[in-house]
């Protein structure tokens, strides 16, 4: 019942995650952070089983950071995504696989090339221009298909994101009330507001 969204624009990735922590039928928290910074330019967003997802993502976060320290330069988005995939794929065949669905958004600090990766709990990794994780897929993919352009600027991407969020508000049974919006570009990751 969680939703993650991502839109890759011309030189940035705009992402949104709901801020709702749910246990059974209870909304436990309305300002839950479902993202982790892997390094200055790569953001990992997760949804799935509560404990699993935080545990797994923090494990990935620390290893990506360790890798950056050891080598002296940070992991690229692609490398981080593939590292995550291998870890999740190995866990899939273990006794207790992590039940976690991910979006990985990143932007190369030198070239400014944005990248967005989609990965499910089975560890199928796919690079996509726009991606939705969770039930939101059934509501937002069509909206994205219709309005998405690869050369979008931030304002246009924000407008599209608003359309998607609105679609969820109108059609999805859960009231998310709050979303966290973040932009990943070559200058780093920053939280923004969709006015």
């Amino acid at each position: 019942m969680e939703v993650l969204l991502g839109i890759q624009g011309k030189d940035f990735v705009l992402v949104a995650s709901d801020a709702l922590a749910i246990t059974s039928i209870v909304a436990m928290k309305r300002n839950h952070n479902k993202t982790r910074k892997l390094n200055d330019n790569v953001l990992l967003m997760f949804s799935g089983e509560g404990g699993d997802s935080v545990q797994f993502c923090e494990f990935i976060q620390r290893n990506v950071q360790l890798n950056g320290i050891r080598r002296g330069y940070p992991l690229s988005t692609k490398a981080a995504a593939n590292f995550t995939r291998v870890e999740l794929a190995e866990s899939l065949r273990s006794r207790h696989p992590y039940q976690v669905n991910l979006l990985i958004a990143g932007c190369d600090p030198d070239t400014g090339v944005p990248e967005l990766y989609w990965m499910d709990y089975l560890a199928s990794l796919k690079k996509l221009p726009f991606a939705v994780q969770g039930y939101g897929q059934y509501f937002c993919n069509s909206t994205m298909d219709r309005y998405y352009r690869p050369d979008m600027n931030l304002e246009e991407a924000k407008a599209l994101m608003k359309k998607c969020i609105n679609e969820l508000k109108v059609r999805f049974i859960i009231n998310f009330s709050d979303f966290v919006f973040q932009v990943v570009d070559k200058d780093g990751i920053k939280e923004i507001k969709l006015e």
Binding site: R85, R93, L122, A123, S124, K126
Partner: protein, 213 residues
């Protein structure tokens, strides 16, 4: 969790969908796949190729659960490259087929949910194709091999269209028409196709535009 694996055992091969076919021609082989990537009936991407190059004369197509397609393709590429470093020659398709088979059988009791089709030319440029099941039982074929959710449709149409000693261009036409007409009757495959023709001199790769439904 246990139920999840039981579900996978039944439908692992049908979760993401896909179609792969390989055919023998006269001094050439062809291998083709669709490009859909989906979750059951939801299509997520239409640029997901299921054919991987192992070397200039050996390709493998993997249809099945996408995560295993990715894992297995990477594992096999690694093994092929290590073989090349150790033996200082390229692996032949037949040896590669046995490598695939034993790799799959290593996971006998927790298999990779994908069925490979292998196509290539051996050291004498003789065409070779084969397919295996998900635990590595090899099927050496002289005509064509198919796998994926579209397997039945492909069997029917390939049986009608294929004939011996087709040249590269004729083979391209036959494999394309077979694949296109077959996956148009399968809701889990389609959305574009890619065809590779392997000849002793060169590899011809073509992307086909198809109906998007």
């Amino acid at each position: 969790m246990i139920t999840f694996f039981l579900v996978l055992l039944q439908s692992g091969n049908e979760y993401n969908g896909g179609a792969v076919v390989a055919m023998v021609g006269k001094d050439c082989v062809a291998i083709a796949s669709d490009k859909r990537f989906g979750l059951e009936l939801l299509t997520l991407a239409t640029d997901f190729e299921k054919i991987f190059k192992m070397n200039d004369k050996c390709y493998i197509g993997l249809a099945g659960l996408a995560t295993d397609v990715q894992t297995l393709s990477e594992e096999l590429k690694l093994k092929c490259d290590l073989y090349k470093l150790r033996e200082e020659r390229e692996i032949t398709p037949k040896k590669f087929a046995h490598l695939v088979s034993s790799t799959l059988y290593d996971h006998r009791w927790g298999p990779y949910f994908c069925e490979p089709c292998i196509a290539g030319l051996d050291e004498n440029n003789k065409p070779f194709i084969c397919s295996t099941d998900l635990i590595g039982c090899i099927n050496f074929a002289k005509d064509f091999v198919v796998c994926g959710t579209t397997a039945r449709e492909l069997y029917g149409i390939c049986e009608s269209f294929w004939e011996p000693d087709l040249g590269p261009e004729e083979l391209f036409e036959v494999i394309s028409q077979s694949l296109l007409n077959a996956f148009d009757r399968d809701s889990k495959s389609g959305w574009g196709a890619v065809v590779h023709i392997i000849t002793p001199e060169k590899i011809i790769t073509r992307h086909l535009k198809t109906r998007q439904d």
